[in-house]
């Protein structure tokens, strides 16, 4: 089987799964649909592996293969072809996406088992994976945008999956609207680039990139607009507010879309567009700075959020901030390496969180959790592994990937050093908030559900409720459904979490500084035209300093979290009381929602109301439509009065009318 065929199998298999499952809705929910969905993604993963081995068989120079299915449109200089670009970068992304997705599908087979929308769920999930693979495999801007928009739509469908829950539909709309802002940015950015390169095809456009002047105005505009798209998708400041709200979706969705795959699309995009960003360093600098800002802002919010899933959501934002900072500072391999390790441990953390939420019968508030350590040993183990990897404790995967980003950013020198140092601050915060979450959920005195579970009884809420508002709701819709499922009792959840845990522990060996360089070497052909790829290398001293600092900060953060939330549990409240202003600032998420509300939502809503009340109702409806219709109506009312229905009136009218006319002509004639 050739490389091209593998590429198409990767793409077609989830699409076929989506359609097949959707067509089977009449059969009612059955686990078979879940297994079909999982199989479809697994086939995709195997095909990605096939593509990988085919790719490695080729020579260094021939590892960028474009395959065209057909010309969608080829006219007036636009070459919109359905083409895939198979190179190390896209195959790497396909492997991560399909691999993690397959495990999350497997997890969902049990986790979602009692949901009424089981069929719909797997159909959407397969559709999402198809869109994401289209996004990463697309060989030109045209299909990149198509995949980009599909991913946004799939995300909307899955966030609003429990569509009778108003908070979920509102969150879905918010995510969709912000993603559309990103789509518009991407389309306009593509226009600016296309205007000069004259080709939508990636490879030809990249070849034309050096023809731009350095920091050429159009190129900077194009890159910044593409950055808007990347930031909306990857939940970077200031387009990040949708991600925490997206936690309204089912937990596997949070794991798949809002942690492991979709939100990393922006990182992929910046890495893919590196020839342009290297030619427009101003745009790349904007990306690096905002990525750094995001990682700090999200980490501080993560410190105070009490919702279990939202803590992980903010940590996702923060970690993607690292990746964006990395790829924008030309640390491509490091950024993508972190993307991969993050996909493993973040999906694992979400799965463990899902298991805890199931044990709490849908409750997500950390204040009401505690002491699950003995009741849920497997989940606890998974959470600890994920937490250690996220905090960056050696030798877990996150340790190597995060520190490589920071070391390479510092190696860029000048003001990038500041970003690197802030990255270290972020690592400390990461360790603290991650372990705050783990200590609060798993340590201290067991809460009621945990005690019941220790006696082998799974807690059920007296009434189903919305975890966000506490509102009582219909049991047929939304978590936990009639039954809920924890990892300790479901083999498929165990397998999925176990495999991810292996990845979270050992993925780091791919890129151990000064020892292994697998990923960097593998991705090299995709970045052969990069100015920095080979040259950017931290000095030995910097490498060791970075690793040591990272390890110390991670362990220190964990120790601090242990002290604050296990040993001296009165302290956090005291600190909170002392820093009430800062605390409320963080709890309100730096007032970003309010800011966006004031700057955009309310003026637009006012404009909309003005247009409706004044323009639409008065001008259009009153004057333009109302004027002529009013005249016609008045005229017809007058004429209508004549139509009395009495025959004699008609006859009289006729008679006297004709007589009158005849008299007139007679008199006029004489």
């Amino acid at each position: 089987v050739s490389l091209q065929t593998y590429g198409w199998i990767v793409l077609v298999s989830p699409l076929a799964g989506c359609i097949l499952i959707a067509l089977s809705w009449r059969l009612g929910p059955s686990k078979l649909q879940g297994y079909v969905g999982t199989l479809a993604i697994f086939v995709s993963f195997l095909a990605s592996l096939g593509a990988l081995s085919e790719l490695q068989d080729r020579g260094e120079e021939e590892r960028q293969v474009v395959t065209v299915a057909w010309d969608y449109a080829n006219t007036v200089g636009v070459d919109a072809q359905l083409s895939l670009l198979l190179d190390p970068l896209s195959v790497f992304m396909a492997l991560v996406v399909s691999g993690v997705s397959a495990l999350i599908h497997l997890y969902s087979v049990s986790y979602m088992a009692s949901d009424r929308g089981y069929t719909r769920f797997f159909s959407y999930l397969n559709f999402f994976v198809f869109s994401m693979l289209l996004l990463v495999l697309a060989g030109n801007f045209f299909f990149l945008i198509v995949g980009w928009a599909f991913v946004g739509a799939a995300s909307y469908l899955l966030i609003s999956f429990w569509y009778r829950r108003t908070t979920a539909t509102a969150a879905g709309i918010k995510a969709f609207v912000i993603n559309v802002v990103g789509d518009v940015g991407l389309v306009l950015g593509t226009y600016f680039i296309f205007k000069h390169t004259g080709s939508l095809d990636f490879l030809r456009a990249f070849e034309a990139a050096p023809e731009f002047g350095r920091n050429d105005g159009d190129l900077v505009a194009g890159c910044l607009l593409v950055l808007v798209g990347a930031f909306a998708k990857s939940a970077q400041v200031p387009l990040h507010t949708w991600l925490p709200d997206a936690m309204e979706g089912p937990t596997p969705v949070s794991a798949l879309i809002h942690a492991a795959t979709m939100v990393t699309a922006g990182v992929y995009l910046i890495a893919r567009m590196h020839p342009f960003y290297e030619q427009a360093p101003v745009a790349a600098d904007v990306g690096a700075i905002l990525g750094c800002a995001t990682l700090l802002i999200a980490a501080t919010i993560g410190l105070v959020v009490t919702d279990l899933k939202r803590v992980i959501a903010y940590s996702t934002m923060s970690q993607i901030g690292y990746m964006v900072m990395g790829v924008s500072s030309a640390a491509y391999a490091a950024g993508l390496f972190h993307l991969m390790t993050h996909a493993f441990f973040k999906a694992l953390l979400f799965m463990a969180a899902g298991s805890v939420i199931a044990a709490m019968a849908g409750e997500q508030n950390l204040d009401k959790m505690g002491g699950f350590r003995r009741a849920m040993p497997f989940t606890f183990g998974a959470m600890v592994i994920g937490g250690l990897a996220l905090a960056g404790v050696p030798p877990f995967s996150g340790f190597f990937s995060k520190d490589e980003i920071i070391a390479l950013v510092i190696a860029r020198e000048d003001w990038h050093v500041v970003l690197g140092v802030l990255g270290f601050v972020g690592s400390l915060l990461t360790a603290i908030y991650t372990w705050r979450m783990i200590f609060r959920a798993f340590f201290n005195e067991p809460v009621e559900p945990a005690r019941e579970l220790e006696h082998g009884h799974l807690y059920h809420a007296p009434e189903p409720f919305n975890p966000a508002t506490g509102e009582v709701e219909d049991s047929d819709v939304g978590f936990p459904g009639p039954e809920h499922h924890i990892a300790e009792r479901e083999w498929s959840m165990k397998v999925a979490m176990g495999l991810l845990a292996v990845g979270a522990i050992f993925a780091g060996v791919l890129q151990i500084p000064k020892v292994t360089d697998v990923l960097h070497t593998f991705l090299e052909p995709s970045f052969h035209d990069s100015r920095f790829y080979e040259e950017l290398e931290p000095s030995d001293g910097l490498t060791w300093f970075g690793l040591a600092t990272g390890a110390v900060l991670a362990l220190g953060g964990i120790a601090l979290a242990y002290r604050l939330w296990v040993r001296e549990r009165a302290r956090p409240a005291a600190i909170r009381a002392r820093l009430a202003g800062v605390h409320s600032f963080f709890v309100h998420k730096w007032y970003f929602d309010e800011l966006i509300d004031t700057l955009f939502v309310r003026p637009f809503a006012w404009l909309g109301r003005f247009a409706r009340d004044v323009f639409e109702r008065v001008v259009i409806n009153g004057l333009i439509v109302g004027g002529p219709t009013g005249a016609v109506r008045a005229g017809s009312a007058a004429v209508r009065a004549v139509q009395s229905g009495f025959l004699r009136y008609y006859a009289a009218l006729l008679l006297f009318g004709v007589t009158g006319l005849a008299l007139y002509f007679l008199i006029a004639a004489s």
Partner: protein
């Protein structure tokens, strides 16, 4: 011959017919009045034809009679239909066409 008297009779008959249409409510009577009006016109046509020595008016009168026969057939048909549907045989009651 003098044509005036024919025309006076014609006008009188026409006026009687028109008055009948305006004041009567029974559709049958209205139909009869309509016939009066048509025939008044016929009288005038024939009189003028005679006065001018031109046959066109007479031919025209014949055609009017044919039309009148058709019209009576339709009108009587309507009246029978109204009767069969047990609707009031009164044109003032049948006023659904009002605006």
């Amino acid at each position: 011959m003098n044509i005036e008297w024919y025309l006076v009779v014609s006008a009188l008959v026409f006026a009687i017919g028109a008055g009948g249409i305006l004041v009567r409510r029974n559709p049958l009577v209205i139909l009869l009045c309509l016939e009066l009006m048509l025939n008044a016109a016929n009288l005038a046509l024939v009189a003028f034809a005679r006065a001018h020595g031109n046959q066109d008016g007479q031919i025209f009168a014949l055609i009017v009679m044919v039309v009148a026969a058709c019209e009576v057939a339709v009108g009587l048909g309507l009246i029978v239909a109204i009767y069969r549907r047990k609707l009031p045989i009164d044109v003032d009651e049948l006023r659904e066409l009002q605006g």
